[in-house]
């Protein structure tokens, strides 16, 4: 899914936190979003994901305005994952359930992704009792399960163990290659952006500057 942002302005009270004249996120590519703390990265992610609707300007998804079908085809993985108070299996299954997929197919898909993320031993655990790295993996698996056309990741690998990071990066790349899904990822880690991203957007004080 291609995202085009035009004349986006966002205020918190009097303070302007985003001022983007034009920005395009390329379809089928992994785009990194970097910049110092407080530059507006998370705010931009919330706006693109359709969670924050309180802004001025236009955002188009493959040329169309936000509607229910677009909501159904994109997702945002938060910096601090919120997992539901139920088992890991049910957490990952949730997006398929709200899409009305039948049970047999759901089981196949969930089992498959659990295997790929190497979290078989977490399967039956209560999700709200997991460690940080475990939670992030489950949270990413839950986002990828329904193969969104746009995947938004807000620092998904900060403060977690290297082994988990490796798995997550591998799955992000695989998702991008296999489904041609567009990815926008906020990261502080230059090495990570080199490993993953085709393009990089640099955000400072709510304004955009392109980098190589």
């Amino acid at each position: 899914m291609e995202i085009s942002v035009v004349n986006l302005k966002k205020y918190y009270g009097e303070k302007q936190v985003l001022d983007i004249e034009e920005l395009t996120i390329e379809k089928g590519k992994i785009t990194g979003l970097i910049g110092p703390n407080g530059s507006g990265k998370s705010t931009l992610m919330n706006i693109i994901s359709g969670i924050d609707l309180d802004f001025f300007g236009t955002i188009r998804y493959d040329g169309k305005p936000l509607d229910r079908s677009i909501y159904m085809n994109m997702t945002l993985v938060f910096q601090k994952p919120y997992l539901f108070r139920r088992r890991v299996y049910e957490n990952i299954e949730y997006p398929l359930k709200v899409r009305g997929m039948d049970k047999g197919e759901r089981i196949k898909k969930v089992e498959n992704i659990i295997k790929r993320f190497e979290i078989e031993e977490l399967r039956e655990k209560k999700a709200h009792r997991l460690s940080g790295g475990e939670s992030q993996k489950v949270s990413l698996a839950r986002a990828l399960i329904f193969e969104p056309k746009l995947l938004l990741l807000d620092e998904p690998t900060s403060n977690i163990d290297p082994e988990s990071i490796k798995i997550m990066e591998r799955e992000i790349l695989r998702f991008n290659q296999e489904t041609k899904g567009t990815v926008l990822i906020v990261t502080h880690n230059i090495e990570q952006s080199k490993r993953l991203c085709h393009n990089i957007i640099y955000l400072e004080n709510g304004k955009v500057g392109y980098l190589e």
Partner: protein, 229 residues
């Protein structure tokens, strides 16, 4: 002083011997208050969650009115229901006054603002994050409400029990609309009140003990259950 001890002794005798009148009264109390709490919960929990999440004009004023109405005195509710259901009232044709149905209606109205207010406040404070995650995973409006209820179920349960305790321990509304008729509309609180004015303590003490015991049991259950998580 002797009559107090005597009262306790007689009270225990009534309880241990499974005195039919005492247990009928307890059963009716539980039935009326439980039914009222369930009806109010079924309506108010989804509604409260929805209103708490939704942004709308005048939400602040709405909150204030809702929170104030949470403590509406039970006699006022009883009075309003009695006026509505009396033979000369607008709903007089239903012939409901002085029946358990009227008591259920009154208690439902009594706990409705309580459950709605508690749910609304919970949803307003804790529901936003759940809504965000749900939305980002493709949940629709109905899915979000169901999801929020499931996520907050322990807190909601505490709210429901609070409402139930209010219902079962109130005397004003059930006395007015029920009339405290023997074997029909007599519940724990109205009996205690009546027995006191009759100077007949044993049954009042027995029922008082039961009421206390119920509060203890329910609340310690909730406490244990919510402590687990």
């Amino acid at each position: 002083m002797d009559y107090i001890l005597e009262g306790f002794r007689e009270a225990l005798k009534l309880l241990i011997s499974f005195d039919k009148e005492v247990y009928d009264i307890i059963t009716l109390s539980l039935f009326v208050s439980t039914t009222a709490t369930i009806i109010a919960s079924l309506i108010c929990i989804p509604l409260g969650i929805h209103l708490g999440l939704k942004e709308f004009k005048g939400k602040r004023a709405f909150s204030r009115i809702l929170y104030t109405s949470m403590s509406v005195p039970s006699v006022i509710v009883g009075l309003v229901v009695a006026i509505a259901l009396s033979r000369r009232g607008p709903l007089g044709g239903l012939n409901l006054l002085y029946t358990p149905k009227a008591m259920i209606i009154a208690q439902t109205l009594l706990v409705t603002p309580l459950i709605l207010g508690l749910t609304y406040s919970l949803s307003k404070n804790r529901g936003k994050e759940i809504e965000k995650v749900g939305t980002s995973l493709g949940a629709g409006r109905g899915d979000i409400i169901v999801l929020t209820i499931k996520e907050l179920k322990l807190d909601l349960l505490v709210n429901v029990v609070t409402a139930f305790s209010r219902a079962i321990s109130e005397v004003g509304a059930v006395m007015i609309v029920g009339g405290n008729i023997k074997n029909r509309t007599r519940v724990i609180t109205t009996t205690i009140s009546m027995m006191n004015s009759m100077g007949d303590y044993p049954m009042a003490i027995a029922l008082g003990l039961v009421l206390l015991l119920m509060s203890f049991v329910i609340n310690s259950l909730i406490y244990t259950y919510s402590g687990e998580d």
